[in-house]
Symmetry: C2
Subunit: 197 residues, 2 copies
């Protein structure tokens, strides 16, 4: 039993939406909802365009990683390349763009591994997880106000860092679940040869 | 090389903070920062008290899970029990409280597995990951406006759901990385017998 046919005892229905914040970067709304018991409640959350994260594997089996200051948590974080979708952007095209812009790598083959919602309590963001291989190094093209280091690590090392607390970025930890199971042969990816966009 | 001594080419310094939103539930600030190159930028993010997630294991080796409507993503999600810290609350006490309130279970033994930041782009939230075993079922005590189903699943089943897209909650996927490696004997937890609080 995982998806009962009738979820009516759980589902909430939006009856009103107000915009709470239209910041330079963050959009926040408040929905008034009808609760499953007929009562009323409010739900506040960030509206996000969605994002991609990239597990890039070099020909010698290393993972492409970044070190980047993350202001909300006030520290330099080790994480996989990732970025937000532009309006109307295809997700694979976004993954290709972000990998190139942030790390300089282009990839010959791509595979969609899965999807996660990083913050279901207060954001509608989703992250598509793409694997990339057949990498070629090149010049990166960082946005203004973007500062990050790129480095390579072995998957075993990255897994250790997730388990021992060196890596705490949620999307990276989630992606390592796919990485571990792909490398163990438990998950088989559907690789496709993709021309650079 | 993972943590160079000098991060000055990455670090941003807060020069001003303004409160952008004080909602019923969400608090958002905008920091003006001095960038590593001396320029100026702004960073908007949610201020969050922190949270815990619980991997509760029954004596026959099943995992305690929930099905809950998550309004921001507009669907019923399968996820591990979790909840926000109350002001000044001890994290283990929070894990005990949330497990009891949401599922009715109390646990004899607890172990801290790790920590993650679910949303480093726009939230300061951290989630501590606690494992619990020696479970005893009892009456749950849901908050008002809280509606959720509790069920059990085998760890193998939960892992499959994460890999195949049935489970997309980021904290749950991250916790399953610990679960898989704990069950495989790769990660050894420091279990402690804890009296109910």
């Amino acid at each position: 039993m995982t998806q009962p046919a009738d979820d009516s005892h759980l589902v909430e229905h939006t009856v009103r939406r107000e915009e709470l914040l239209a910041g330079n970067f963050l959009k926040v709304v408040r929905d008034t909802v009808r609760l499953p018991d007929g009562g009323s409640g409010t739900r506040e959350y960030v509206r996000h365009p969605g994002a991609v994260a990239i597990v890039g594997l070099t020909d010698d089996g290393q993972v492409v990683l970044e070190r980047q200051w993350r202001h909300p948590v006030g520290r330099v974080m080790i994480e996989l390349p990732a970025g937000k979708l532009d309006a109307g952007e295809d997700r694979l095209a976004c993954a290709q763009r972000e990998l190139l812009e942030e790390t300089g790598y282009t990839a010959r083959e791509w595979a969609l591994a899965g999807r996660l919602h990083p913050c279901i309590g207060y954001s509608d963001e989703f992250i598509e997880v793409w694997f990339a291989r057949g990498l070629t190094a090149g010049e990166r093209r960082l946005d203004a106000e973007e500062f990050l280091d790129v480095f390579l690590a072995r998957p075993e090392q990255l897994l250790e860092w997730c388990l021992d607390g060196m890596v705490t970025d949620g999307k990276t930890i989630s992606c390592v679940l796919w990485l571990q199971n792909v490398l163990a042969g438990r998950t088989v990816l559907d690789w496709r040869v993709i021309s650079p966009s």
